[in-house]
Symmetry: C2
Subunit: 454 residues, 2 copies
């Protein structure tokens, strides 16, 4: 019988070329003009899952973008692993900062450059190829189900309904997700938590039309100035968020956990150098890893108003806008924080302007225990292929659907990510190292093997 | 001999149609793609000036957009009036707020809607048609020179050189400008001053690339947040500008002037209603008219950074930008204020970010006395056609070249504007009332007559 290693070695180029094909589809969920691309991407995945050995693959329509479901049931009495991932990607702009087309993947210095290379097409596709490896070598030890959605980057607005309506279909013993990072190939790690999210958009209206800034300037509130003042007030001089009630439900990390976090390898100098900043910023009293892991945040994701073109226009604009998102930690509730945030903005809005604020999307924070069967199987798989035990870390990102999965399906979620923080997720020049891609494909079959053995 | 009134009555439609043709040329000086339109607009003016009776018209190339010069010298011993105006217009965006195309003029409710209808094509063209009236009826009492530039809306960067190099050509006894407003046709007024300008652009850079706001948020300074904090700090709780030295050179208006200003008809309720705001905003201790007339201001003309498209993108952007302009009053110097402003921004920039700030354009404030020959001739002309003496007021806008004109050519500038503050200058749906257009054409010949008689 062919070994996993043999099979993967022989199919190395095929594994890569298929991923590149997938990356060529601009499946941007946030933009309505990509509706057809979303369908095309779902169909490509269906084809690949069937080729890899799935018994059955269906594309389910939703109120938004379709969900791809596939399965191979080898024996109903054996444990079932549900692999969750997403085929949608973040918008690619600002396009002018990409060194090559976001949907024209190129390999450079051992890295695949393309939107979605890591987040999450590359990581999803590792599972398809790991499944193929087990399937083609007749070594699949678990039943396997795939749930690959098309709306993760816009907050999974329709997945909850799908999950609630398809509990039997999705019945499983563990949910496995590769949509996070590890510290490095030398220092493997596994996320034990993801942060929640509350993402809103704010519109501030001053005068009912754009005005000449000479004729009216100084006498009518400028919505940009007012919005800036409102934003400026959201963090105090210690970069602590000032919104009353914001921290009420935060479960402080234990001294033991903070001590463990401090032991993970981290060089502030390298971090600053990589980002090109002279000084780091953040909430007083917490380290960088704590700020991105165990603390909630409030970030401005976008701002616009007035004249933003070439040259000068002396306008006092009617409107200014901002996109603001908070990352949440246990036990902050997304709905509650959204309400607190929107109400606070309305409360601090001065009478000179009118304000509208509304939710884009949200998601709950999620923590997974490190003593579950799934966590242990994943840690052992990583130890097998990396030669080292993974360090448990708290991830800064969000996978909005996690809390709902556990609630509706009653199983734990395991985050076995193979990306790197430096993969430029959501940024120009997103990349995924070939070494990480292949390492994932190599490691995942061991997860199934060890999970079945427990 | 035909009277002015007869000639104008007979040519009413022609006067309008020719203006509409001029308004169809998208002569946006700030946008490089309109370079050809600028030339076309200059040539159209040349043709019209010659038709109106000019002896000579030249289009002078500059380092930027061309200058149109025309003249009719009836007798070198007679006084010469130099009419200054501009054929360039502000950018038309945001386009979606226009009810009809900005360069497809329409007449509705007795008003011409188009970019440049009032500022300044409509007002310049009144002078061309007033000149035609005098020329065709053989009643021109002064020599007349036209200087119509194409860069007023971008700060007249090349006009100073042209003026300095062509002092003999531009020799005159008074400069007449229609690029301001009057209170109303019932309450005529004349501007006795225009504010200066200092217009800069600021770029704040945080990390060297756009980052995932989950992975890095909370640990790296967000340039939008920092820029907002910097902007917020520029006005104190009394909406007084906080930049050290900003007010140092301001000549406070006298109690007498403030008393006179307070007597001009003004309804705060109507002003608020027209603008759709519940409360006015501005520097404590000053009235609305004082805030826009005798006080310097600092306004945000534009802001942008991060994701500004449809939906949500969880990005911590690398850069954020703002366009900021100050209106200046006597004796503030544009260069000095620009320097103070840029240095202040650099000083308050925290070490987490890098800042670039640079001048877009500037211009000096200008005041004209009310006892000059030109002012008296204009006031008498207005009294003749309006039946009322004009009220002297301080305008809020800027005509950057005024101070230079006086310095280089040694003559006073007279502002005889026929627009209205509600003409949506620099805004969507700019308009010019037909009644004001024709009133200007009716009034201007009297200026020439009275100026010649003095």
């Amino acid at each position: 019988m062919q070994t996993w290693k043999d099979y993967q070695e022989k199919n190395k180029d095929k594994f890569l070329n298929e991923l590149l094909e997938l990356l060529r589809i601009p499946s941007v969920s946030a933009r309505s003009e990509h509706k057809k691309d979303m369908q095309a991407c779902a169909e490509a995945l269906k084809t690949r899952l069937l080729e890899a050995g799935a018994d059955k693959v269906e594309i389910y329509a939703t109120a938004g973008h379709p969900v791809v479901y596939g399965e191979k049931i080898i024996d109903p009495s054996k444990p079932t692993v549900l692999v969750y991932g997403h085929y949608d990607v973040q918008p690619a702009d600002p396009l002018n900062l990409w060194h090559s087309g976001p949907f024209e993947p190129v390999i450079k210095d051992g890295k695949i450059f393309a939107r979605g290379a890591c987040d999450d097409k590359g990581q999803v596709y590792m599972h398809v190829k790991a499944f193929e490896t087990m399937s083609k070598t007749n070594t699949l030890a678990t039943n396997i189900k795939f749930l690959i959605e098309g709306e993760e980057e816009v907050g999974s607005p329709n997945l909850a309904t799908f999950v609630k309506e398809n509990k039997a279909l999705l019945k499983s013993d563990v949910i496995l997700i590769s949509d996070t990072a590890l510290i490095s190939l030398d220092t493997p790690s596994m996320d034990v938590g993801v942060r929640g999210l509350s993402y809103i958009e704010v519109e501030v209206t001053g005068p009912n039309r754009d005005l000449h800034s000479g004729v009216y300037g100084g006498a009518v509130a400028n919505p940009i100035t007012i919005l800036a003042k409102m934003i400026a007030s959201l963090h105090d001089e210690n970069n602590h968020i000032t919104i009353p009630g914001f921290y009420d439900d935060v479960v402080e990390a234990t001294t033991a956990e903070r001590k463990l976090m401090a032991e993970a390898p981290f060089s502030e100098e390298e971090y600053k150098k990589d980002l090109g900043v002279n000084e780091l910023w953040g909430e007083k009293g917490y380290t960088t890893n704590e700020r991105t892991g165990i603390r909630p945040t409030l970030e401005l994701n976008g701002i616009w108003g007035g004249y933003t073109g070439e040259g000068a226009k002396t306008v006092l604009p009617s409107k200014a806008y901002a996109k603001i998102s908070c990352r949440l930690v246990p036990n902050q509730g997304s709905d509650k924080i959204t309400e607190i945030l929107i109400n606070h903005l309305k409360k601090i809005a001065p009478p000179y302007i009118q304000i509208k604020a509304e939710l884009h999307h949200g998601g709950e924070p999620y923590m997974t225990p490190i003593d579950s069967k799934g966590y242990k199987a994943a840690a052992k798989a990583i130890e097998t292929t990396f030669g080292k035990q993974p360090i448990p870390v708290r991830g800064g990102g969000s996978i909005p659907i996690c809390a709902l999965f556990e609630k509706e399906l009653g199983v734990k979620i395991i985050f076995m990510g193979f990306g790197l923080d430096s993969d430029n997720l959501h940024s120009p020049n997103e990349k995924y190292d070939l070494a990480n891609y292949y390492k994932g494909i190599e490691t995942i079959p061991y997860f199934h093997k060890y999970f079945a053995e427990q």
